[in-house]
Symmetry: C2
Subunit: 180 residues, 2 copies
């Protein structure tokens, strides 16, 4: 948003920050995320310390941040479009997690319920910006390249978790004491 | 080096750039690396296009670049100290690769031979800077944190390659046509 010169776009985009940081009377998405973390059994301090964040996950997130920092606001908006698939995924989690993971405190699901409606609205805004800006064939190819990059970020995060928690490969299998 | 205010340190560090970029009469390390790539069967164009670089590898390299950009020159020098182990590793490659990979053109090994002596000299310089700068217990802990970060960069690269080429996990198992 810091790269966006259009007041009207900023006004609309601002809602995402309010959603996450919260306002008086609404604790916001970050707080809901912390509660979800607590619902799966972590302490607030444990989550905020980021001690469990795998290096591969961190590097992928940082790649996204650095992209958004340098990109134009239209490019950054375009990169948010993986959210197109978010509402359906959130709904699936709400439907199936209570069965799969009965030990998760149902209070925690508030995060997904909250994102369900927000993501639907956000993605429409991102889509409007993208369709408005990327018009020529060349621009459309660029938009696809941006989405490819975003998918690579998400896949890299999953890969890092897969190797750590499914393949339990050293040194990153949540055994920090084994790190060299 | 751009963050270094000490002319004498820059003069010495400059040698690393000359080593890699080359000078008249010496093609330099980047050229030797390209020849190593050709020796294992890739075309120069293929290597330079970076088409085979896995996203997880790219994100890890970028994390290192971004670190070096923001860090003080002493911190950046400290992060190079994983090279302490490089000469021994290069020597092992020279000793064993011709047996393990007889299909690699031996011309390509020039890269490792070149790095063998350069790394010995470089690491002494990096070690001098680090021992000179990180003196208190707190600073030493910081130096260890920097090396931990550097190891995380290297491990993340290996993890990305492991999941792509050993576990052959989609989407990144060198089948770009399968990327979604």
């Amino acid at each position: 948003m810091a790269n966006c010169s259009e007041r009207d776009v900023r006004r609309q985009w601002m809602q995402r920050i309010l959603d996450h940081d919260g306002v008086d009377g609404d604790d916001g998405g970050i707080e809901a995320w912390l509660r979800l973390g607590e619902s799966v059994g972590m302490s607030r301090q444990e989550i905020q310390s980021q001690e469990h964040v795998l290096p591969g996950v961190r590097f992928a997130c940082d790649a996204y941040l650095n992209f958004a920092r340098r990109a134009s606001w239209q490019e950054a908006a375009c990169s948010s479009l993986t959210e197109l698939f978010a509402p359906e995924i959130h709904q699936k989690r709400l439907n199936t997690w209570p069965d799969h993971y009965p030990w998760i405190d149902i209070e925690g699901y508030q995060y997904f319920r909250k994102r369900l409606s927000e993501a639907r609205r956000d993605v429409q805004h991102g889509l409007d910006i993208t369709l408005e800006h990327f018009k020529t064939r060349e621009q459309q190819e660029q938009a696809l390249g941006i989405l490819q990059f975003k998918l690579e970020v998400l896949w890299s995060m999953l890969d890092a978790m897969q190797i750590a928690y499914v393949y339990v490969e050293p040194p990153f299998h949540s055994c920090p004491e084994l790190r060299i």
